[in-house]
């Protein structure tokens, strides 16, 4: 079992004819993703890796039954493409694009409200259900099928945790990159709720970093609503105040956004917190005990 994505999901790739779109389509197909169509306006009728390309999302939905879409679209074009995709009735949109203006992201989120669509990103590495399918840029060889859910703000840290878990024989049900921007489309709490309801997930790992208040809000959700155990990791305790560390959302202002604030919120909610990536594996093993089946 998994959340949001499995081997049958009919996937659309937007921006499929670009350099990154083409390369990633190849990796996704090799992994087993059921890619049914691509879209690049003006390139309808072409093919990429054997995948038919359409001019509009509506065409890809009508002719190929696309139901989920991954974006390799330039930042300035993301808003228009997202609104088109929402209107076409797609149920999962993964925006890999970095540097999407944050006001555009907020507008997209507002327009998606109540439309029955899940959005991941911007600056998301994507979503992977190991052994079945992946949408986005996550390297397949760093994940393994299993029963642990992973939610990460950072792409590369999702890979780091994925491969550390895999080395310890701990596979994942689904791993999700929620995006590293100041205002991600979907909050950490909403994704925790999905994993909590998934019969294929026994425990969830949240991989956070300095900046914003996602972790603090999620801690409240965990304390009040979550039934499954959660292990948290927060990166960046050596980051000095006022320095933006790459991600638009990763900056500390005063007490706001510090690892201290996040760790203390998690601990109050009964969540075990790792200070370094390798500690995540130890905490998971402790939490699951010996009764745990890795597959």
């Amino acid at each position: 079992m998994s959340i949001l994505l499995d081997g049958k999901t009919r996937v659309l790739v937007q921006g499929i004819t670009g350099r990154v779109g083409q390369a990633q389509t190849k990796w996704m197909l090799e992994y087993g993703t059921n890619i049914v169509a691509g879209v690049t306006p003006g390139k309808g009728g072409e093919e990429v890796e054997g995948v038919p390309v359409y001019n509009t999302v509506a065409q890809a939905v009508a002719e190929r039954g696309a139901e989920a879409s991954v974006f390799f679209v330039p930042p300035a074009a993301v808003k228009g493409a997202a609104l088109e995709t929402i209107d076409a009735g797609i149920r999962l949109i993964v925006v890999v694009t970095e540097h999407v203006p944050v006001h555009d992201a907020m507008e997209i989120k507002a327009r998606a409200a109540g439309r029955g669509v899940w959005l991941l990103g911007p600056t998301s590495p994507g979503i992977i259900t190991p052994g079945e399918a992946k949408m986005g840029i996550m390297p397949g060889n760093m994940f393994q099928p299993g029963r642990i859910g992973v939610i990460s703000r950072s792409g590369t840290l999702a890979y780091e945790i994925g491969v550390d878990l895999a080395a310890a024989g701990l596979g994942q049900s689904t791993a999700i990159g929620m995006g590293a921007d100041p205002a991600p489309f979907t909050s950490l709490s909403e994704l925790l709720r999905l994993f909590d309801a998934d019969p294929g997930t026994d425990l969830v790992i949240t991989v956070g970093e300095v900046g914003g208040t996602q972790e603090e809000h999620a801690a409240r959700f965990i304390a009040e609503k979550m039934t499954k155990p959660v292990v948290a990791y927060v990166a960046g305790h050596s980051v000095p105040e006022g320095k933006r560390m790459g991600h638009a959302g990763a900056i500390v202002h005063g007490e706001m956004g510090t690892t201290r604030s996040k760790i203390s919120a998690f601990q109050k909610a009964g969540v075990d917190v790792a200070m370094y990536p390798v500690d995540v594996v130890k905490l998971v093993q402790k939490k699951l005990g010996k009764s745990f089946q890795t597959r």
């Binding site: 990154v20 390369a23 990633q24 990796w27 300035a76 970095e98 540097h99 999407v100 203006p101 944050v102 006001h103 555009d104 907020m106 507008e107 507002a110 590495p125 840029i137 996550m138 390297p139 060889n141 760093m142 990460s152 703000r153 950072s154 792409g155 590369t156 840290l157 999702a158 890979y159 780091e160 550390d164 080395a167 590293a180 100041p182 205002a183 991600p184 489309f185 909050s187 709490s189 991989v207 970093e209 300095v210 208040t213 996602q214 990166a235 960046g236 305790h237 050596s238 000095p240 006022g242 320095k243 560390m245 790459g246 638009a248 959302g249 990763a250 706001m256 370094y276 990536p277 390798v278």
Partner: protein, 380 residues
């Protein structure tokens, strides 16, 4: 990108937010002339991209032309939190009866703008909301319809203001929200908003940060981000298209992602100190990593470099060629370690090994870093 106070004040004024008349001076003589024109007393304010100016002596009152010139002379020679002061703002000193706070920022969890109002202005808003939550009220704004005047007025009434005061406050907040939206800001803040003894409202400070990702469509702001970076190495990073943050340690970091870069910093910090943070983002090429090596190796006092390459979106095998090309043309005694995983890991490892990079193949970053610690010996 943070704006200087005078830049934010100009944007506020364009939208009708009441700001005092002000002048900008980059010499003591200019400051004196501006002050004479404005009339005494005046306040002379250092223009730097940092908070805490008041405490650092960057905001001072002058009662005469001589005093204005002397103060401007001192302030213009000073540095605030390490940032040199190149300009001062000269404003008339206001007679303040009461101070408020108005702000617009982004609620990152809900994903919408949020407006904040407080009857305790002039102090840190986070502190006020912790210690006197009753003095702060905030409200999420539906971005598609925007902030309505009645919504803003209702907020002001909640802070205990009278109907007349609330309507004036709401009007200013509404204008501030418009500035925030038009310039695609992440923060727009007036702290304090003063009620003068004459009964006028005046924004006595102006703080704004513009979304870096939106700057491309705001040529009217005339902002060149590179001009605002003090460190030459950080400026160079911006020019080649990576995030480089200069730090004061001895181990250089190159990472293919920001989160991984922060985790790598944390791990180095167990025994040594990071000399920099560098993340490439998703645009790796041979040339980029050549330039990245050139940048990282320039830092003084470097004892080792740790390269953390995870192949997701990036063609890391191309990057590896750039690293090797740099090392071949710039031989060094500084050990360079690389940890490589993900798409094309074997190919990438081979290229690096062939070029004198010590490739470590343990799984986790921490296990790989242990090799670097061992080489350097000791640590703290």
């Amino acid at each position: 990108m943070r704006l200087y106070e005078f830049e934010a004040a100009s944007l506020f004024r364009q939208e009708g937010v009441p700001v005092p008349d002000f002048a900008i001076a980059d010499s003591p003589r200019q400051a004196r002339q501006a002050a004479e024109k404005i009339g005494f007393p005046v306040v002379i304010k250092a223009q730097v991209l940092s908070g805490g100016r008041g405490l650092a002596g960057g905001v001072q009152t002058a009662d005469s032309p001589e005093q204005a010139e002397a103060i401007a002379g001192r302030v213009l020679k000073s540095a605030i939190r390490g940032l040199p002061v190149n300009r001062v703002m000269v404003v008339p000193k206001a007679a303040v009866a009461r101070e408020f706070y108005l702000g617009v920022t982004i609620d990152g969890v809900v994903g919408c703008p949020v407006v904040i109002m407080s009857t305790a202005g002039g102090v840190d808003i986070e502190e006020t909301s912790r210690n006197h939550p009753e003095k702060v009220t905030s409200c999420q704004v539906p971005i598609l319809s925007g902030l309505s005047l009645p919504q803003a007025e209702k907020m002001a009434r909640k802070t205990g203001l009278t109907a007349d005061e609330s309507s004036r406050m709401a009007d200013i907040l509404h204008k501030l929200y418009n500035v925030f939206r038009k310039s695609e800001a992440t923060i727009a803040e007036i702290n304090p908003l003063a009620l003068t003894t004459k009964g006028d409202y005046l924004a006595l400070d102006a703080k704004m940060e513009i979304d870096d990702s939106a700057l491309f469509r705001h040529p009217e702001l005339k902002i060149s981000p590179e001009d605002r970076i003090a460190s030459p190495l950080e400026k160079k990073g911006r020019q080649i298209g990576v995030t480089y943050v200069e730090l004061d340690g001895e181990v250089g970091i190159i990472s293919t992602g920001a989160g991984l870069g922060m985790a790598t910093m944390d791990i180095i910090n167990q025994r040594y100190r990071p000399a920099n943070f560098l993340e490439t983002g998703g645009g790796i090429s041979e040339e980029l990593l050549y330039q990245v090596m050139e940048l990282v190796m320039q830092k003084k006092g470097l004892k080792a470099v740790f390269i953390n390459l995870l192949g997701g979106i990036n063609p890391i095998h191309e990057g590896a060629k750039g690293i090797v090309r740099f090392l071949q043309s710039h031989p060094t005694d500084i050990p360079v370690f690389a940890r490589v995983m993900g798409n094309r890991q074997e190919e990438t490892r081979q290229i690096l090994r062939g070029g004198g990079v010590e490739v470590v193949t343990d799984v986790a970053t921490e296990q790989c870093m242990a090799h670097l610690f061992q080489r350097l010996g000791g640590g703290r």
